[in-house]
């Protein structure tokens, strides 16, 4: 059973392509887990920190806010700069730019700076220093569906992977303290840095795909990433009635790869309507066709995780 708290299981929800329905399904899972709490006590994590949407559905009350200080960027003291050009020649990010005032000195474009500090260590006149940057905030919240750990990366910032790792660690500690049995992690799109951080320690990956050429292409990429990390994978197909040939492609490909399809969720306007009202679809429209299939998918996930 999942309520034996000897090992907290971790379910990660990914897709490769964005907009396939990860967050709507994560919110529904939060609702279903909460309403069956005797069986599963879940803690939710929104790991899509630069487009964080789970809180829009779960309507959290924030109980704890922490600053996220990620990297640093270089800053040049104009009065000490002797215009030797060395930092500019070393910088691989085109971040060092001459002032246009004819003073033969330089400044750093903070958006372009990668924070490598090569310039700092090379500057003979010690005119450059690193300025730590607050790159976002993270939150621990209570929702009508249990605890949520989420974050906001400030627009355009780096280190989203670090922030994902940080909120996952805190969610895990909280889960241990409260004898929760499951972490449900709503992941970001793609397969890069924040997705890799999302995958760390996962017991099961749920891929949410849809029957479109783009989503199928990206399904294969995220599947290969999860396999690289040796994480077991299951799949569900969202908006399954928009393109029947696509569904057939997903079925054939999944079967050839030995991947189980847990359910096919038809395109259902109730999902958008529930989102607009800030509620999980299973909570607002429990009898909708989408809710019924998501319930089946959830039951199969619980069974998988209990084995």
């Amino acid at each position: 059973m999942l309520n034996q708290a000897n090992h907290i299981k971790q379910l990660v929800i990914l897709s490769g392509k964005g907009g396939t329905g990860k967050t709507s399904i994560s919110a529904a899972i939060a609702d279903l887990a909460y309403s069956s709490q005797k069986q599963v006590h879940a803690v939710m994590v929104d790991a899509d920190v630069d487009a964080a949407n789970l809180s829009l559905v779960l309507q959290p009350k924030i109980s704890e806010t922490r600053e996220f200080w990620g990297g640093s960027v270089a800053e040049i003291d104009k009065s000490k700069c002797i215009g030797c050009d060395l930092c500019k020649s070393l910088c691989r990010y085109d971040a060092i730019i001459p002032y246009a005032d004819g003073s033969n000195t330089y400044f750093v474009d903070p958006i372009a700076c990668d924070g490598c500090a090569a310039c700092v260590y090379s500057c003979a006149s010690e005119a450059i220093r690193m300025i730590p940057q607050q790159e976002g905030n993270w939150f621990h919240s209570q929702t009508g569906y249990g605890d949520l750990f989420h974050a906001e990366l400030f627009p355009g910032k780096e280190n989203s992977g670090k922030l994902v790792t940080l909120i996952k660690q805190n969610a895990r500690l909280w889960a241990e303290d409260t004898q929760a049995s499951l972490l449900v992690v709503d992941g970001p799109p793609g397969i890069g840095c924040p997705v890799i951080s999302t995958c760390a320690g996962a017991d099961l990956g749920l891929i949410v795909t849809e029957p479109s050429v783009a989503a199928i292409h990206d399904y294969k990429r995220i599947l290969n990433l999860l396999r690289h990390f040796k994480i077991p994978v299951i799949v569900c197909i969202n908006k399954s009635d928009i393109y029947p040939d696509g569904v057939e492609n997903i079925r054939q490909y999944s079967s050839s790869q030995g991947i189980e399809i847990l359910g096919e969720i038809p395109y259902d306007e109730h999902i958008t309507q529930a989102m607009v009202q800030g509620k999980p679809v299973t909570n607002k429209y429990p009898k909708s066709s989408a809710s019924r299939v998501i319930q089946e998918i959830w039951d199969k996930i619980v069974y998988r995780l209990s084995k």
Binding site: A51, D114, A118, S160, P189, G190, R221, Y243, V276
Partner: protein, 294 residues
């Protein structure tokens, strides 16, 4: 502008799946007969532009970062490289220096600061770049991140520099979703940002994030509302209040949804879209020339 004759448009969105690639590829096809178009798919984690533009790939190149290789014969274990590395990609373990390639950003600081010249930089492939022409004469290039590699911005940077833009009059860059560093890299150097959203709370929340980046980078932009008719009116209200123009609306229809799903573009749904995108392009051009935030 990168060069006086070239107009560079980045298509971005914040939220994934709002229709960036649909708009970027439809725009490229609409302009193909009158402009020399270069299409750059900068979503290197999940590149999909080729599925719609169907280019013949002619050239391929590795996307690399330079990572340190330490010659232990020359290394005096001074620890300077470990000290200067901001990303913990080097560690002194016993009597040697270990390199962790997946943590390395390729900045070259360690090699430059090594007084005994024991560090040589070697190419570490993290993805590939591919380019070719489409049937319509669009020059196409994309980057593809290798599975399990974390860093995307170096690939985007190399992709942007790779293709010679001398004979090109329009560059269309398709951005990744989100609002972090890879989106910034795709926007860098662009003359205009075309933001695609959907009229839902998710669409609006993530649109605001990207608008924040545009303001920081001082890039003019306008919005296309896709799947118009679903959701609510919050996006419209927000754009109205903030004087951000809606440049086009694409209605939600099952006909469009299934066409895009099967690998077609908006031009296959209705030839009117060709004219609409041409008019949109003229409006963007005017915007950029008059240096007005449209």
């Amino acid at each position: 502008m990168e060069n006086a004759k070239v107009l560079c448009i980045t298509v971005a969105s914040g939220k994934g799946g709002t229709g960036k690639t649909t708009v970027a590829t439809s725009l490229a096809l609409s302009l193909a007969s009158q402009e020399n178009v270069l299409f750059l798919d900068c979503d290197v984690e999940a590149p999909n532009g080729h599925l719609f533009l169907k280019p013949q790939v002619e050239v391929e190149k590795k996307a690399v970062i330079l990572i340190p290789h330490i010659d232990m014969e020359k290394c005096i274990l001074c620890g300077k490289c470990v000290e200067v590395c901001q990303f913990h990609a080097l560690a002194e373990i016993g009597k040697s220096i270990m390199v962790f390639p997946q943590l390395c950003h390729g900045c070259g600081s360690c090699a430059w600061h090594c007084s005994s010249k024991a560090i040589k930089e070697i190419h570490n492939p993290i993805g590939i770049l591919e380019a070719g022409l489409t049937q319509e004469g669009i020059r196409f290039a994309h980057g593809v991140l290798t599975i399990s590699e974390p860093l995307t911005t170096p690939i985007i940077r190399q992709l942007k520099k790779w293709q010679n833009a001398e004979t090109v009059s329009v560059i269309i860059r398709d951005a990744p979703p989100g609002a972090s560093c890879s989106v910034v890299e795709t926007l860098r150097g662009a003359d205009f940002a075309l933001l695609i959203t959907e009229p839902t709370p998710f669409g609006l929340h993530d649109l605001k994030q990207v608008i924040g980046i545009l303001q920081d980078m001082k890039i003019p932009g306008g919005v296309i509302v896709n799947r118009d008719g679903i959701g609510d009116s919050q996006v419209d209200q927000f754009l109205l209040q903030n004087h951000i123009p809606i440049m086009m609306r694409i209605p939600y229809s099952t006909k469009i949804a299934s066409a895009i799903s099967s690998g077609n573009t908006l031009l296959d749904v209705s030839s009117n879209y060709g004219l609409e995108f041409q008019a949109l392009f003229q409006r963007i051009k005017k915007c950029v020339m008059e240096k007005e935030a449209c």
